[in-house]
Symmetry: C2
Subunit: 311 residues, 2 copies
């Protein structure tokens, strides 16, 4: 059985480990903080049990038997066919862990970072093995949301991009290619655009926190789970995308000019939104809410992609 090393066992690292195990790989999980590693143990087990309850895997126990939690980086990477780094979002920390990984791991093994917004060049360019380094940014939680952004640096070899793409497809993920480096890649830039304008709309009193979220969950999120913004436009006019945009041109230009995606929010607004979130979720624990989210994502994935099967 092929081994994948998970370096960093926070929310992203543990979800990667869940995915790798669910898809028939061995996951070797390491975190510099033993408490995080311990909490990952319970969390991976729980996520696998959730997948079993949803019939997405046959046996959580069997999958969990393929996950090892190890106290050193050395143990984690030994014999691994792929290394997935998911430590804190800090350039210095990533630079240091990649330097160590580059020393430890054979030169033909891909070293991938889960960074959600830092271009790989910022911490991979000095490495001897920079040609096998790239970003493979998942969406939280990766064991339930299939998208992975593969973003090579100018030094990344095509071979490393192809190997990562193939691995992600074998894992049942859906990779896209970020062809030029940019902060936030594709996904977090689109998300930041929505978060920025959402803060503006709630901050200036155009709607409540609850109603803004509902505009997404009951409206745009459904359109976007089935069609991207380009395909949605293409289907909005009998003449296709160009006809749609030209019909809509004046409005679109007015709207985009009036957006305040770089709205200057303050902590008072954040505290008010935090209070609303707590009231709307009836102060239920974050963990309980995450499990409920995960159940929804499993149902969504089934309705969009058909049954998720163990490979």
């Amino acid at each position: 059985v092929n081994i994948i090393a998970c370096i960093g066992a926070g929310s992203i690292g543990r979800s990667w480990a869940t995915l790798f195990a669910a898809r028939g790989y061995k996951a070797r999980v390491h975190d510099a903080d033993p408490r995080v590693l311990e909490s990952a143990f319970g969390s991976v087990r729980e996520s696998l049990m959730e997948l079993e309850r949803a019939d997405a895997i046959e046996s959580a126990e069997e999958c969990f038997a393929r996950v090892e939690f190890v106290p050193t980086l050395q143990q984690a990477v030994r014999g691994a066919c792929h290394v997935q780094e998911s430590i804190v979002e800090d350039v210095q920390a990533k630079m240091s862990v990649f330097a160590t990984l580059d020393e430890l791991v054979p030169a033909d093994t891909v070293l991938a970072s889960s960074t959600s917004e830092i271009p790989g060049s910022c911490f991979m360019q000095q490495l001897k093995g920079r040609d096998r380094c790239l970003v493979a940014h998942p969406v939280n939680p990766p064991h339930l949301i299939p998208l992975v952004e593969i973003c090579p640096t100018p030094s990344t070899a095509t071979r490393a991009v192809m190997a990562t793409k193939q691995l992600m497809i074998r894992l049942g993920q859906q990779p896209i290619l970020v062809t030029r480096e940019i902060g936030g890649f594709i996904l977090n830039r689109l998300q930041a655009a929505v978060i920025g304008e959402a803060l503006h709309l709630v901050g200036e009193g155009f709607c409540s926190v609850e109603d803004l979220d509902k505009a997404i969950t009951s409206g745009l999120g459904r359109r976007w789970a089935s069609l991207g913004p380009f395909a949605a436009g293409h289907l909005n006019s009998d003449g296709g995308y160009a006809e749609y945009i030209l019909k809509f041109e004046r409005t679109l230009r007015q709207l985009t000019a009036s957006l305040e995606t770089d709205y200057s929010w303050d902590r008072t607004l954040i505290e008010r939104i935090d209070q609303s979130c707590r009231e709307l979720t009836q102060r239920r624990s974050i963990r309980e809410l995450q499990l409920e989210r995960d159940r929804k994502l499993i149902a969504l994935r089934r309705s969009l992609d058909g049954p998720v099967s163990e490979s």
Copy 2:
């Protein structure tokens, strides 16, 4: 059986009529253009049959028997408990049709506009009955996506807002309240933010049209079908929304400052996207693609809200 008048039978008006009929109301449909009215006839029937095939309604025939297509505005509104205007997005045209409706329709009946971006004040303020006028903006197609933005003008009576909200809930829709008028309301502003940045990312060569759409359908769209941007943030940190934002503050401010949601696109880019859309859909007809989209939306709605039942 209560009657709802649908004024304008384009893609939005006919989908409203489908919803009204599917939910047990009589829909009286009018369009100034007889060819549009005729095409709506086939389209409503087809959409109801699609709902029947998906077990969302018992009998398309029974529902379709509740839809009337009428050649005059007068016939459409007679005895209606609610009037839903969905004509072209043009202030002058809306001003004129609302002036006629205000004359024809008893003063206690709500006149609602489906406008997706024009504040109601721009065409409702001169009317004698402006207190019963408001915007009730759906998401295309309303018979499959539940969100409705209710946006009163400063002259709208609370009574009209409450009646519309109640009607939408009886129809199985999920209304939100836009508490201050703004161009594009909530939904189209958030959508424009994504479209603007998407045009920037594809226009400047950071990814392909296909991969941008996939970032949404396989990534953000799934998150957003289950959680809005605020709830998603709340669940992203064990300490809730405030902790999440403060951890993420520097990155978020950098990202929102670097967005180009007001990207200056040109027709060459639009033509290129149009070509990609046609290639990606293998030049299948827009109508066929719309039916496929509708089947996905039915499956999504079932997985998110449970079975849609006839009321």
